[in-house]
């Protein structure tokens, strides 16, 4: 893993020891946050954009913005919540603009014109089901969609999702219930 060093020769020469120590600790802190929140930001963006390169760009942009605010976001939970929201917002913006562009250019082969599925059992394991699932996920309201994405990420419990979204666990549960029920209705 590459070491995280920000131009040491230029900055260390002119900084006083206290400021230098503060900067070094902030960098160390950010590096720790980066290792955990980088993949999280990427996965949130990837769930929206469905494209690795775009999701990577969005995650990097979110992390760069987070670096500028690392002083006021020392607490990991706050940092994580902040970066998830930023990554989600950036990804949603990118996704919406891409969708508008796509609709403008290829409206003739829109999803509405596709044949309706036969039944759930026939398409469960198929690629078509996956495509339909992702499409229906896109149609969910933003708050339910984000809760669904975060809860589907491996390793995050409902309590952690609630902490990230800064909402009660009960609210997370109700959002997940609504989202899963709606997805099932659409995919049935």
């Amino acid at each position: 893993m590459q070491e995280f060093v920000l131009n040491p020769s230029a900055r260390l020469l002119r900084a006083d020891p206290a400021e230098e120590a503060d900067t070094a600790s902030a960098k160390l802190e950010f590096e720790q946050h980066l290792k955990e929140c980088g993949p999280l930001a990427f996965r949130v963006a990837r769930a929206i954009l469905r494209n690795d390169a775009d999701a990577e760009d969005v995650a990097q942009e979110a992390l760069l913005r987070a670096y500028r605010k690392v002083g006021s976001l020392r607490d990991l939970s706050r940092f994580r919540a902040w970066i998830v929201r930023v990554a989600f917002r950036l990804a949603i913006d990118g996704w919406r603009s891409a969708r508008r562009r796509e609709r403008r250019e290829t409206h003739w082969c829109s999803p509405e014109s596709l044949p309706s599925p036969r039944n759930a059992e026939d398409i469960v394991a198929s690629h078509e089901f996956q495509c339909r699932l992702e499409r229906e996920l896109d149609e969910l309201p933003d708050h339910s969609r984000l809760a669904m994405i975060l809860s589907a990420i491996h390793g995050y419990t409902l309590e952690e999702v609630a902490a990230i979204l800064e909402i009660p666990v009960g609210t997370v549960k109700s959002r997940l219930f609504f989202a899963r029920k709606r997805l099932a209705e659409k995919l049935r």
Binding site: N7, R46, A184
Partner: protein, 225 residues
């Protein structure tokens, strides 16, 4: 509990992620084969949704993500430190000194002399002429002889000038002053212009008299002058 209610409750239970159904629901499903099949289908559907979501969302993170962030941070930091703090302060101080110096130089510059002795301002005599009664009418404007004459922005320069004045409109003052200066500097030009004017065969009597409001302006060749 009928089948419709049972199926609705099955969907709610699966959507809320319950692992074990309530007892009354399990009893109905055990007795009703149709509801049992429905429960199996719905269980498979929700399992497919969960696995599909996990597949879509837990995508492998590209290895270039964190190095990319570090590289962009390094580039950002290097760009920021390209002009060091002391250097930035010096540049700011230099700009401040330059601005102050230019301002002081501008203020200490002496006021430029008017390039011409042409002053565009109405005088008391001009006002008096325009206020004379015409054909027994009343004077339209009373002239206060004690009133100080109007002074424009160059009033100071005008008051110091003791030579003859030419009354012109303000927008023509500069052009006339420039002409006067040029003629004074170049006497040959003045002679040439005068000669040209004398040679021209303009018949002044052909030009009609000018009527300015109620004031009759006599012809140049009339004897009223």
């Amino acid at each position: 509990m009928n089948c419709e209610q049972t199926r609705r409750r099955i969907i709610d239970a699966l959507a809320s992620g319950l692992v074990k159904f309530p007892p009354e629901l399990s009893e109905h499903v055990a007795l009703c084969s149709a509801c049992s099949r429905f429960q199996e289908r719905q269980t498979r559907l929700f399992a497919a949704i969960d696995s599909g979501l996990a597949l879509a969302i837990n995508h492998p993170v590209p290895a270039s993500l964190l190095p990319g962030v570090r590289a962009r941070l390094d580039a950002m930091s290097a760009h920021r430190s390209a002009v060091p703090l002391v250097g930035r302060q010096m540049v700011f101080a230099l700009i401040l000194v330059l601005v102050t110096g230019v301002g002081m130089f501008w203020r200490t510059q002496p006021q430029k002399e008017p390039i011409a002795k042409v002053i565009a301002r109405p005088t008391a005599s001009a006002i008096a002429v325009s206020a004379q009664p015409v054909k027994g009418g009343r004077a339209r404007k009373k002239v206060n002889p004690n009133r100080a004459p109007y002074r424009g922005t160059r009033g100071q320069a005008a008051s110091q000038f003791t030579g003859p004045e030419v009354l012109v409109r303000p927008e023509e003052a500069w052009a006339l002053a420039h002409l006067a200066n040029t003629v004074q500097r170049q006497p040959d030009w003045a002679k040439a212009m005068l000669r040209q004017a004398l040679l021209s065969s303009t018949d002044m009597s052909a030009i009609p008299a000018i009527q300015i409001k109620d004031v009759m302006v006599p012809r140049l060749d009339s004897e009223k002058w």
